[in-house]
Symmetry: D2
Subunit: 299 residues, 4 copies
């Protein structure tokens, strides 16, 4: 297994970033990542120094995958996500769109949350399930270099909790080597990532990266052992819901032969959604593969 | 237990509708409801006769709850939802906002789906879990009479799958007797109710209705044995997400004493969402009560 | 000319409201209307008594138009809009969605603004052009009774400044007699009606009401001597823009024979928009009729 | 006057693009720009070769402004916009969000429209007013390199028709020299740029570029001789309306001393909006400066 130790951190997912590591398709890599605050906050009293670093969600990598070219896809099997320092950090930084309802009189408070016994300790009394996920992961676009703030077709700051251990994330490849970036790991996160700051942690992420040749995709996809999921992003959120489900339905048609209008109805009955940061409208539409298989079997 | 047999069907949730039944707070009622298509479709070949009935989601009731007045709330314990005719109906009627992605060449097809063995049979090969829910349920507003299409503060066509057996729905009371209407039951429904037609069924719904005096609420709430949920509606959907979570956070503060900005952070980590018909942007924000209790315990 | 003096005020646009006046198609009527605050505020120091009247936008009428039936349309020629009391009232009542940017520390202040010399005096130093418009006007739906808050296919609280002197508003008819309601006149209003309170005034409105038989329309339309306009409503606003333009394009095709895809392109070049209260996403899409005529002439 | 002849075309607004010209603040430059289709379509029968060039909206420049640094602003006086080849091109490429209403059966048709006699000839029978504007213009961000598709704080593909002759556009400066890019000129465009393709033309743009030191702005602003305008972008569009007006109000406060809540009310009465491509929700909020001055004068 290759290792990529913490090195230069990037705040863009850019074809201009030089590869930090080159791998063969099928290789497994252990990648050290920094937290969303660039590691400024490790203990009570620490604050984010936005003078020193005005950007968020630093990325490790990029990883150059031999043989990857535009029009291919990466299949990234997420094997393990470990808390590198045994802790996660969260806080409330602003009221966002809830100010209209909650007022603006924010009680700011940073929480350093130990990660242990398969829990993240929000307070000494409350341990919530450790449910780690990669918040920001993406491949470099052929044109344009997104910062690590917006999600998009290339992946990026999707904040979808299904980008997690045991699942496979599929990302489009746009440039030679794909140039995979990742970071911004969360120890836990709810639907909507309401205040914009989940359980942010420095992590060690173990991934096995496969290459799927000639597999153009418009947007990211995810597979768990049970489910297929399509990810769309952008506001208004109802249109992301529509687009994510449309991608899922076309994928069901393509892979299982289920006619799209049947898939459209089936998703109506058993589809589910997962919501990333609500402010940017990222949505995963999901369905259990067993239902798709059985539906397609009917002829 | 009182019984309300199928009678006059209403397509508005209106203070002008005369009570079909009067109950005391705390009474249990069994209510027969018709399906969203007013029962026009029972077997292969049947079609909806929109000439005869241009409206959808007929309501049984209204039920007059003795002593209920504006400023109170109803607590509706949903004890049982049974398929009255042993079947559910679904179909695809239009591409909606997915036409841009799937094309408009719709294969229309009505499915009569048997409900048996705790499953709804989408096809002979595919039984999906029977997960019944009340699609449309609401109390009559003091001013204005919504049809059974839009959801709102009064409830209405929320299509939230957590309005289900074992849960309690809280609705605001606006007029004397509350005038509870209900119908449009689904045997199953996914997040977003994508094609707008879930597993529509004629049902018998058993509810116990309690009255909570002097409990003004701005919008509906739900409790399951494990979770508290607030429901908001309206587009753009990201604003419904914000409002539903804001309602939930204020409820957590009110009932458990958890300061709102702590609740705001906690929902970020462990809140989840459930989505009604995506075209109207109904969203339930949810959290496990045990987390709220433990978080509040920290002082 | 018939006169309808100020009488019972309605806060719903409802088929249950008894006609206050019956007219023949083609008759001209002078209608007295009350302001959005039900006339509570006439001089400095007055406040709205929401205990006494919790609703806004009172309606005069309804006017019963002989011979009108579902499937027809009303053509309402707006001949004159006069300030009945020589003044308009405005204020800031909340930050709405701007609180996130402006803060919540609102300086409340009621402005009693004289209307004279073709101006509305926002302050002794600033007279803005008197540009009167009917904020809320609508026909009673066949099913459901909207309050005077939301706009919709029936018209209602559209707050579109082109509903003004010299223009003709077309509204669908749903019930016998149409039951036309109107009120909530503004002496002036900008795009978006940002703070939700325009220059609210008690008015005398002179309209000539024609009946167009068998003219089903899905939503309101407006004609000025120069322009044709279609009005759509609902969030997210981008979808109202799409729908308003689509209605306009289909109307151009229907009336001038301009093929829809040519109309679609033409609107791209010379279409304009007018925005009602931004919080509900009402949009008028407009085009000069001379362009449509000339474009259609090309064959 | 300096001249920048057509040279390398860029499809990103990027700090990695080498300056094509360096100017002193206050200098006037004549810049040749290419049309949105990279000049592939000049006569009937031409088509866009997306194999050769998959991107749209090519940019001329960048122009390096001596002395410009992050935290400054550029004041770009647009003196003249000329049709470089005497023609503009438009077409319908897809139904977009109108497909739901117009169907998907698009009649594709490219129009080569002569620009002469102060008109753009949509057809031999229909000349519409020549109202040229710069569709895409922006400064290079410090982090991230947007393509020429999305608008943003840096300007970019705003498609706001007030970026026109006689007006001044203010853009934030992020990097040394500002690196001003521009292109994608339209001979005319309506609100919403409905089909996404306006009257696209190759142009010669004459601008005088001033530097405003220490003038951090969050988003672009425009001044005409009569109006001040703030531009915001992003969906849902109602939030762009809110943000654009909020920017405008804060600018009115900053420059004229009009307290924000008074400005908020004033914009309600006399503010207007201009809409760029509706699919991305760009909105300019506008007000006449004379009103702001008079309102502020009241003390």
């Amino acid at each position: 297994m290759k290792e990529l130790k913490l090195g230069t951190l990037y705040y863009e997912i850019s074809r201009h970033n030089p590869p930090a590591l080159t791998i063969q398709p099928g290789e497994t890599v252990s990648v050290e990542t920094e937290d969303a605050f660039s590691g400024h906050i490790r203990k009570d009293g620490d604050v984010q120094d936005t003078e020193r670093m005005p950007y968020a969600n630093p990325q490790s990598g990029p990883i150059y995958v031999e043989g990857a070219e535009g029009g291919d896809a990466l299949a990234i099997h997420i094997e393990r996500i470990e808390a590198r320092l045994g802790l996660a950090v969260t806080m409330v930084t602003g009221a966002g769109r809830l100010g209209e309802y909650l007022g603006m009189d924010i009680a700011k408070e940073t929480r350093i949350c130990p990660v242990k016994d398969e829990k993240v300790w929000w307070s000494p009394q409350l341990g919530i399930p450790y449910a780690p996920m990669i918040g920001t992961i993406g491949t470099a676009p052929a044109m344009g270099a997104p910062t690590t703030m917006p999600p998009g077709p290339h992946g990026g700051n999707m904040d979808i909790k299904e980008v997690t251990e045991g699942n496979t994330l599929y990302l489009p490849v746009y440039v030679p080597g794909a140039l995979l970036h990742l970071g911004d790991v969360h120890a836990a996160q709810g639907d909507g990532e309401l205040c914009g700051v989940a359980m942010e942690m420095a992590a060690t992420v173990t991934i096995k990266v496969d290459l799927v040749k000639d597999k153009a995709m418009d947007r990211p996809r995810i597979r768990s052992p049970q489910e297929m999921m399509a990810v769309a992003t952008g506001s208004p959120m109802e249109l992301s819901v529509a687009r994510a489900y449309a991608d899922l339905i076309l994928w069901m048609e393509e892979e299982y032969g289920l006619p799209r209008w049947q898939g459209y109805n089936l998703c109506t009955q058993v589809g589910t959604t997962s919501v990333g940061y609500y402010g940017v409208g990222t949505v995963a539409a999901k369905i259990r593969s067993e239902y798709v298989e059985a539906a397609a079997a009917q002829g």
